[in-house]
């Protein structure tokens, strides 16, 4: 190794930069940066690469797309719509699809990449939540992530509304209805958004600006911050032999991770190209231009808006009219409340957890989901809540496919949305505790070896063997509950942190967090006495 020096083509530019920026110190420090390896750590990478692909394909599309609602008569090469009046936006989208070589491919890759972008962010966030990777010191990156997902929803909504086809116009119409429901300022927001009454002629150029400039710019800024913070703080790691709070173990950035992540980018692009080539998406030429009086059945938004669609569908028709004003709870509640609960709750969660557990330490090694049953159960309750609303957004499709009454599906979801999360919480917590018990058993008693021993008096027992060291490390990564002092001691003096109603609440939540914890620990006599395995096992 030592005899090799970098070729001149590499060295010269490096020296050029170093002379001016002192960059070699930076490169030297970072080129061996350690990347811990776990399959679930790749989910965020998919999101990053989808975003890059979105920028590339999106730039291509802007070269031909005309963000204009001026009415034109189509005379392009899609014969079925020739002579039809439509907006320039729709006509130029048809032009991209049918008259620009590779245009349809870029459109389809762009749309698929948007879907993948949102899906991978969500998956990545679930990974971070369930392993506790959001804990101190990484709360900021967690909040940035929630911000990016929310902005991604808006970005997607504006993006698929741009072609001004029948489906996207319907989405905009719903957006207008939701805007109008806002108390006090609803009609003003509506008028200011559309530049007058729906649809007007301003909305497409405005959404275009938001979609290609403002929101992507903001997302790009957040991604940069996200990456820099991650780079600075170093990765979390799943609990294994070499991962501790003091060190991180894995392969160096250069060359291993660089090559791996490069391959991963190529895989992402390749799969999206495959989808763009063979899986049709958003065939706007079949929907036709937007017509406010027309609609097709089973109109569905892209998946990440489905949760809003579902809550709109199953909400009872409550509306209050009093003192000359109307408050449409039937729109306002579903538009704000479910996502408010899920995203607001997710944003507050790290801080709530810190407050409840009193744990203000830094955490770099993740928790296995089973070892934080309340967190895992709460997460599953949120997943169930979100998932049910999401499916409710397709209740007409469900009713059609499974031949059940449409109204019955609505009623089902009206109840399931409340009962499902409770059930998910209970079931998940039970499963977590069961897994804890199993871990405790493996650590305390060892693993069944399949070897049957016969004792002199004729008793048969199975020999247990201690688990392998690398497995024991994982199991023992569990931090057992540390019961707090009782809220009120024997003399009736409240413990610090348990004073007042808030302190009382905290102390109760703290107990709920850990009261049924199953300690996973080595039994004292088991400690290092494995050599006497037979005596041990006889006792079990």
């Amino acid at each position: 190794m030592s005899e090799s020096t970098a070729p001149k083509a590499v060295e010269a530019p490096l020296n050029f930069l170093d002379d001016r920026l002192g960059s070699t110190t930076f490169f030297k420090r970072n080129m061996k940066k350690v990347f811990p390896d776990h399959w679930s750590f790749m989910l965020g990478e998919i999101a990053l690469y989808s975003f890059i692909i979105l920028l590339l394909t999106g730039t291509f599309l802007t070269l031909w797309f005309k963000p204009s609602m001026v009415e034109v008569v189509y005379d392009g090469s899609y014969t079925k719509l020739q002579g039809v009046k439509m907006s320039e936006a729709y006509a130029s989208t048809l032009h991209i699809s049918f008259d620009v070589r590779g245009g349809l491919l870029m459109r389809q890759i762009h749309h698929w990449a948007a879907i993948l972008f949102m899906a991978s962010i969500l998956a990545h966030m679930l990974r971070v939540f369930f392993t506790g990777a959001y804990r101190k010191p990484r709360e900021l990156n967690w909040l940035i992530g929630i911000g990016m997902f929310t902005m991604g929803m808006l970005e997607g909504l504006f993006g698929y509304s741009l072609p001004d086809d029948l489906l996207s116009g319907t989405g905009l119409r719903i957006t207008q209805g939701v805007a109008e429901s806002i108390p006090l300022v609803g009609t003003y927001i509506y008028m200011f958004l559309f530049g007058g009454e729906f649809p007007g002629t301003d909305i497409v150029p405005r959404m275009y600006m938001l979609h290609i400039l403002l929101i992507p710019g903001l997302i790009l800024g957040l991604i940069t911050a996200h990456m820099m913070i991650m780079w600075h703080q170093k990765h979390t790691a799943m609990p294994t032999q070499h991962q501790t709070e003091q060190q991180v173990y894995g392969y160096p950035f250069y060359p291993v991770f660089m090559a791996k992540t490069g391959a991963y980018f190529l895989f992402t692009f390749g799969v999206l190209a495959l989808l763009g080539a063979f899986a049709q998406i958003n065939p706007i030429w079949l929907f036709g231009p937007y017509d406010p009086g027309a609609i097709s059945s089973a109109s569905q938004p892209d998946w990440y808006m489905g949760v809003l669609e579902g809550s709109l569908r199953i909400m009872p028709n409550w509306e209050i009219t009093a003192w000359g004003h109307t408050l449409s709870l039937n729109v306002l509640i579903p538009a704000l409340l479910p996502l408010g609960i899920v995203f607001g709750g997710a944003a507050a969660w790290p801080f709530i957890e810190q407050w409840v557990t009193g744990d203000k330490r830094h955490h770099h090694v993740n928790t296995r989901p089973r070892n934080a049953p309340v967190r895992t159960a709460t997460g599953m309750a949120a997943v169930t809540f979100y998932g049910l609303l999401w499916i409710a957004g397709a209740n007409d499709v469900v009713a059609d496919r499974f031949s059940v009454s449409l109204f019955a599906t609505t009623w089902f979801f009206r109840f399931a949305v409340f009962l499902g999360p409770v059930l998910a919480f209970i079931v998940t917590k039970r499963i977590c505790l069961g897994l804890q018990r199993k871990d405790a058993d493996v650590i305390g008693h060892g693993v069944e070896s399949g070897i049957i021993l016969m004792s002199p008096e004729g008793r048969f027992t199975e020999r247990h063997e201690p688990a392998r060291e690398e497995e024991r490390v994982v199991l023992l990564s569990k931090e057992n509950a540390r019961p707090e002092a009782p809220a009120v001691d024997a003399r009736g003096v409240p413990a610090p942190g348990a004073k007042g109603p808030l302190g009382h609440l905290r102390s109760r939540l703290n107990r709920a967090w850990q009261f049924d914890d199953v300690p996973v620990e080595e039994h004292a006599e088991n400690g290092h006495a494995e050599l006497e395995g037979d005596k041990e096992t006889a006792r079990h």
């Binding site: 008028m191 301003d202 003091q246 763009g276 693993v447």
Partner: protein, 365 residues
């Protein structure tokens, strides 16, 4: 637990009786081996023969990727533009398959090649890096706080409240100014949402001495006669006559979006007109706003047997025989009804909708 220990444990128990074949439990992993996936050959001396083989496989994939890219360019230049270039569905589909297929091939082959390269040929070893405390020690924090306050004092900001307060005052409007600039984003709502083009059209017709404005079929703009619409159970979308001519060109779609109306022929014996609207229908032909009162989708589905109007977006359901009362779903109010009459055999509207159409809003009342 190292294997060494296990072996010793076994050796010390010559009397151990084993029934059957010992289970391979000690080799079985309790946990998924998810953590360290690559590189498989890392840190090991590579066997040169198999490394050569791996290299050849990687090279094959890279060649495949190259071929994919060449095919992409070749198709683009040589085939996609033949006979006057891209035109229509068939050529779009063909070029989409070829361009997308070769592009996917190129990316995936390259990705596979790099993956095999990483897993088979890279000899890097896993390494360990120390984590560092992020926070500065209390002393530096204290020093910084001191410096900060010293700077504030040097600047005079702490000593001179007049300076400080007027600076804040000067800065405050800067935040508002951009918001003020946004005022011209749109007009104020005023009474815009309260009326539709039906009102203007009826007024115009009445000025000309007619009873009301004719209904024309959406799309064809043909005025509709009662006899044209005599079949019970039919439904059609109508607009006020002349909407395309009387409205400024760029306002047509906006006005259509408000005035669009469904005309339904319900069986007269089942029809229960609302109070005060007994003569708003013509032999069971009744007109409702097509814009759903929930969030504004077109309530476009009509079921003849139940006389239900259904909005396909969120499934609000209205009863056509009962003044479009809400039967199910999230909509809170009936679809507004349009007063109808007959003039010279043609269906006419004799007034605007009596209430604002579409979704509810705060000032609606």
């Amino acid at each position: 637990m190292s294997d060494e220990n296990k072996e010793t444990a076994g050796a010390q128990e010559p009397r151990e009786r084993v029934i059957g074949t010992p289970s391979p439990a000690r080799d079985k992993a309790l946990l998924a081996d998810g953590d360290m996936s690559a590189p498989a050959g890392a840190g090991e001396q590579l066997d040169e023969a198999s490394a050569k083989r791996a290299e050849r496989i990687v090279a094959l994939f890279f060649l495949l990727a190259f071929a994919g890219s060449v095919a992409f360019i070749a198709y683009y230049i040589g085939w996609s533009g033949r006979d006057g270039g891209m035109h229509g569905v068939l050529r779009a589909r063909e070029s989409n398959f070829w361009l997308g297929g070769t592009m996917a091939l190129s990316f995936l082959a390259m990705a596979a090649g790099v993956t095999i390269w990483v897993r088979r040929l890279m000899a890097s070893k896993p390494i360990i890096q120390e984590r560092h405390e992020f926070a500065a020690d209390p002393q530096s924090r204290a020093v910084f706080a001191e410096d900060f306050m010293a700077g504030a004092e040097d600047s005079g900001l702490t000593k001179r409240p007049l300076l400080r307060r007027t600076l804040l005052l000067a800065a405050a409007p800067l935040g508002l100014a951009p918001l003020v600039l946004l005022r011209d984003l749109g007009p104020l709502p005023e009474k815009r949402l309260r009326s539709t083009h039906w009102g203007d059209a009826v007024e115009k017709a009445k000025r000309q001495g007619k009873k009301g404005v004719r209904l024309v079929v959406d799309g064809t703009h043909r005025p509709l006669k009662v006899t044209d619409f005599a079949q019970v159970g039919s439904m059609i979308t109508v607009l006020p006559e002349g909407i395309e001519e009387d409205v400024p060109h760029d306002q047509v779609l906006t006005q259509v979006a408000k005035a669009v109306t469904i005309l339904i022929n319900v069986p007269e014996e089942k029809f229960k007109p609302a109070e005060g609207r007994e003569n708003w229908h013509v032999n069971g032909i009744v007109a409702y706003s097509k814009i759903c009162t929930h969030v504004g989708c077109p309530a476009a589905l009509y079921e003849q047997t139940t006389h239900h109007i259904l909005c396909p977006c969120h499934q609000s359901t209205f009863d056509a025989t009962d003044a479009a009362k809400v039967v199910f779903g999230p909509a809170a109010r009936p679809l507004p009804q349009l007063p109808l009459d007959v003039e010279d055999g043609y269906l006419v509207a004799t007034g605007d909708f009596p209430e604002p159409i579409g979704p509810s809003f705060w000032e609606r009342g």
